[in-house]
Symmetry: C2
Subunit: 320 residues, 2 copies
Amino acid sequence: MIIDVVGSGSLGLLYGGKLQDAGNEVRFWTRTAEQANKLSVEGFKVTEREKTIQISSDQIQVKPITELTRVWEHSPGDWLLLMVKQTAIKDVIHEIASLKTRVLNIACFQNGIGHLNVVQSNMPHSNIYSVITTEGAKRQQDGVIRAGIGETWLGKSSDIRSSSLMPMDQNESIRLQGLLQQAGFGCTVSNEIDKLIYRKLLINAVINPLTAIWRIPNGELITREERIMFMRQLYDEAWAVYEASGILIDGDVWDQILSVCRSTASNTSSMLSDVLHGQQTEVQSITGQIVSMACRCGLSAPTHEVLLHLIEGMQPEGVS
Amino acid sequence: MIIDVVGSGSLGLLYGGKLQDAGNEVRFWTRTAEQANKLSVEGFKVTEREKTIQISSDQIQVKPITELTRVWEHSPGDWLLLMVKQTAIKDVIHEIASLKTRVLNIACFQNGIGHLNVVQSNMPHSNIYSVITTEGAKRQQDGVIRAGIGETWLGKSSDIRSSSLMPMDQNESIRLQGLLQQAGFGCTVSNEIDKLIYRKLLINAVINPLTAIWRIPNGELITREERIMFMRQLYDEAWAVYEASGILIDGDVWDQILSVCRSTASNTSSMLSDVLHGQQTEVQSITGQIVSMACRCGLSAPTHEVLLHLIEGMQPEGVS
């Protein structure tokens, strides 16, 4: 089985390293030639509690994404795991545009929801799967640490307006599930992936922008009453939008949000991390999606809208 | 003439130093005993373009605010210049509470508007004057630099619901104007101080919270279109509240806001400075006042309200 892992961040190395260690042919594709060069010279490690996997320089296959289509001409992959940040999706899709007439199996690991239609509309014949994961991985100088063992769900979002002539192939997702389980991931194929996607979207929409603006780790959100009230306001606004949009989620998501703050108390959210490093954030695919959904169903989500503009207004030239 | 200057920040030292240099008896009152001790040992300098004033340790009268009422028993002052931050007003008033039956002349130099009624209701027989200044002063280790020569306006705000039996004494403000002019300040007594107060409130409400959240100097606000759009949204919301409240301001305040951003481009707003130092900000007396005014006239100011809660939610435990 040939698996193409696009992106060499923490998730890319965690999944790719373990899939390779389980006997698959894994090819890593990086955004820059420098990243590819560094990985190909140094290899990388996946550090887990029980063992450490070493993918050495003579074992690793890694190239910049610009070379993917050329390689594919003589050796197409079976699965393409799209593990770049949501903000890099357009660039990646642009690089593999010449594959648009082919049928790829693409698994999207991004937060938010905006990217799915971008991928589908550019790769109209491909099978696009959504992946939701609670795996915790930390990128290190020499590889990645599996910081928390989580669960991986995959399925097909009903939000994707597929123009594919191919019927949805349930077997494909079962096959990826098998590969991931074999590689040591708890993995479930879900017919209700949308519920998971929208649950994660809501959790992210409440936690991420606030941690980015207040510049605090997740756990600090729930240490003060006025912060919890603000989170609740975001939650209530988004929940009204969900209800009006007919999105149903199981369980008490508000409780889940508080619980995520506790269980990831010392973590820096990806949005805060991006802000601190002067990088583009995923706010458009998280908060921006709540705002768009509100708009589509004739509601407004004013607090989310203000946060969207505030995060968008941030830039590296900040004082501190 | 005995002038009591409460607060030893940049404005306190600038006005106090120059008033003393012009021949007045100036007494400085600090919030802590440490501040008083340091000033009494070291004295301070007021550095201006043309000359430097040195108030040496044998010339300076400085005590902590806790001693003010005791000193006043045998030697009352003629004017009390209240130059602490708006957030410290309640503490200061508490310290001089035993003077509440007396008639003081108090000049309030704070931003915003919330503090005026706090002072008036606690000192019901006093004459409370509002001061608006565009003087630029920078606190240094050994004193203060007069960074920009501005204008000082003083007058009586109609917002103060005075319970004083005394008629408003126009002569008092003329007297302070004379003292300030003599000390080298451009000073005007204004019957329309409210217009100046509300103009400054609006300018601060647009500039300060955004610089604090984005952590940028004032000039960076107008370098990007999306930031200007956000400022405009704050401006329009506040302007609607002003109109509904019957507050009239001369001139094009939007133009003035852009002009302040340009003329103070490299400055860090006081709100950003407070956020960076983990101190309480003046957001309640600026943004909070716009929100309260909106509420009183049956409008809402949702963007200001979100900013109010975001600034209030900030605290020193931030990541960066």
